[in-house]
Amino acid sequence: MAISDLAIIKRSLTARMFSAVTTVITVAVAVALMLTLLSMRDSGKAAFERGTGNMHLLISRDSSPLVSVLNGVFYADPPARSIDAPKLSELRNKYQPAFSYFIPTQQGDSYRGMPVLATTEEFFSRFSPDPDFSPDDEETDGEPWQLAEGEFFDAPFEVVFGSTAAKETGVQVGDGIFVVHGTEVSRKAADTAEQFSPHVHKDFEYRVVGILEPTGSSHDRALFTDLTSSWIIHAHDRRQAEDPTVTETTVTDLTPQDALVTGIYGRVATRAGSNVSAAIPAILSQLRADTSITVAQPKEEIDTLFEIVGSIDQILIAMAAAVMVSSGIAIMLALYNSMEQRRRQVAILRVLGCSRGRIVVLVLIESALLGLFGALLGLAGAFIGSQVVASALKAQVGLVVEPLFDPTLTASVVVAAVLLGAIAGLAPAILAYRTSVSRNLRPIG
């Protein structure tokens, strides 16, 4: 058995444990920051695109197109204003012929913090989170939505859960649930069916009929039910407010003022194999002439959003690169300072027959190892960090982001950190190379 180069390096590092650990942490923070930013940038945009799916237009009465997309597709907040039944009919009569689908949606209720989207069965048969899914193309393979369990709703008070919503609430097909209307406070109060708050629609029990496969979109954390049931429970609230003795409300009690929607998902008819239509600009222009509604092109809104975020993104990545370079400087400083203490060690090794070249290699391996340890720790940090960012995005803006670590990009960042470490070791290595043996073995006469 002989003493190895790695054993020498290990002793060198453990002898300066504090300095080594702080240097590794510095590199780790830089690597984690870089990887998290790169990962979130790619997966963030992918998640946004999956949310808007294959729709071309979103009609609402929100204050701006971007807000309508964030609310209507990403469930940021329930839209504040509704489109009433006459307006919906007017729009439908005027535009539906040109559309591949024209799907009304209504938001405002929730179940244990998960938004409920009341819509029509077309939502599952025509709309798809896959932007490339063409519902009119006979050659299109597969279905727009996949069920993990159960079936889609086809009657009032049946509800289908998105995959995340099902996972987080633990509901099963066949369970009965009560949805709540109103604020976060009332949602939290209804964590169990027994803890009804005044805002819980306790007279109407929904039956869970299906659970969707994950789509990686914002819809994974939503619940889907039909518009009629949603209209009935709100009509019931209205009727009870007018007459507290009312105990039952059915579809026959609905008035036009109950039939409100908060958004319309629209896709203009396209030719087979195409995802765009030349008619979109003309339809858009006509729709925008109507000032009582807000019309958004979700894809364009997302692109605009990413243009705004993109420049910040580039600044952040430049900053992460700067942090990586400064972590390289930290390695250099740590080793350079330690070389002062190690001159005697270098001199002794030289006396024992170690060549200058080998001394240089030892220092370079040591600095590259600091880079490697930092990179591995940073990699672990990035996995955790991106999960934290992903859950924050989900909680704050309802964006479901699955952090994606591109293997090539991840490997590049790790290799860059190791190279940076090795480069940072050059100056200390040169110092070691130049160490005078005679001067550093004093006192010797």
């Binding site: 058995m1 003493i3 054993a7 002794i348 006396v351 070249g357």
Partner: protein, 226 residues
């Protein structure tokens, strides 16, 4: 058989000085021979030993160790030659901190042609020969006398032809110093290495049959050799 050390016409002076610090016309040391080199402090004893070890280059002359011109070798070859043929013992021992006694000895073997598989066993055996039975204790936990043993074992590890001991007893009390010198001289005899020991301690003279002063070698006074 080549002399362990053969110095011819050696001159050395530091940059920007006018006088030679080392000037030796001729000095030879037979294989296994032991010599004491005396000089006052600052007279160039350490400089001479570093020239012999190839850690410094002379301005003029030749130093041959075991028949090889030390300064005819360059870079890693000279380092390998030093690591294999020359053992060095210092006043302050210059052990590697943070390493055990055995590892300090193994470090000398690391840069030699000795097969890797033998390093540990050889180090432990050498330490045992010098009287140290705690090879796995870190050197900072050892007494001064024990550290001296590690230094001697390390110098002898590669079975060098020449051991250079630079003031090996200067930081020891007289009693420990005596024991240390016994160990150094006995170890060199047992491995057949020649020994050059520098000292300004007059009490050392009786231990060596051959005694030289740097002044005499410079031609200033006669040799004190027996």
């Amino acid at each position: 058989m080549a002399a362990a050390l053969d110095i011819t016409d050696l001159r050395f002076r530091y940059p920007n000085t006018t006088a030679d610090v080392v000037r030796i016309d001729r000095f030879t040391l037979a294989s296994g021979e032991q010599a004491l080199l005396t000089a006052a402090s600052g007279e160039g004893k350490s400089t001479l030993l570093q020239l012999v070890a190839g850690l410094m280059d002379p301005g003029h002359g030749f130093i041959r160790v075991d028949g090889t011109d030390v300064h005819g070798l360059h870079g890693a070859k000279r380092d390998l030659f030093r690591g294999t043929k020359i053992g060095m013992i210092f006043q302050t021992f210059n052990l590697l901190q943070g390493f055990t006694a055995a590892e300090n000895v193994m470090m000398a073997l690391k840069f030699s042609p000795v097969p890797k598989g033998e390093h540990r066993a050889r180090a432990v055996e050498l330490l045992s020969t010098t009287g140290l039975d705690t090879p796995d204790r870190e050197v900072t936990q050892l007494s001064v006398g024990q550290q001296q043993r590690v230094a001697v074992a390390r110098a002898a590890a590669t079975s060098p032809v020449l051991v250079l001991a630079d003031e090996p007893t200067a930081s020891l009390d007289p009693e420990t110093g005596e024991a240390a010198m016994d160990l150094i001289q006995e170890t060199c005899r047992s491995i057949g290495a020649a020994l050059v020991c520098t000292s300004h301690d007059p009490a050392m003279a009786s231990r060596f049959e051959r005694r030289e002063s740097l002044g005499a070698l410079r031609g200033e006074t006669a040799s004190q050799g027996a």
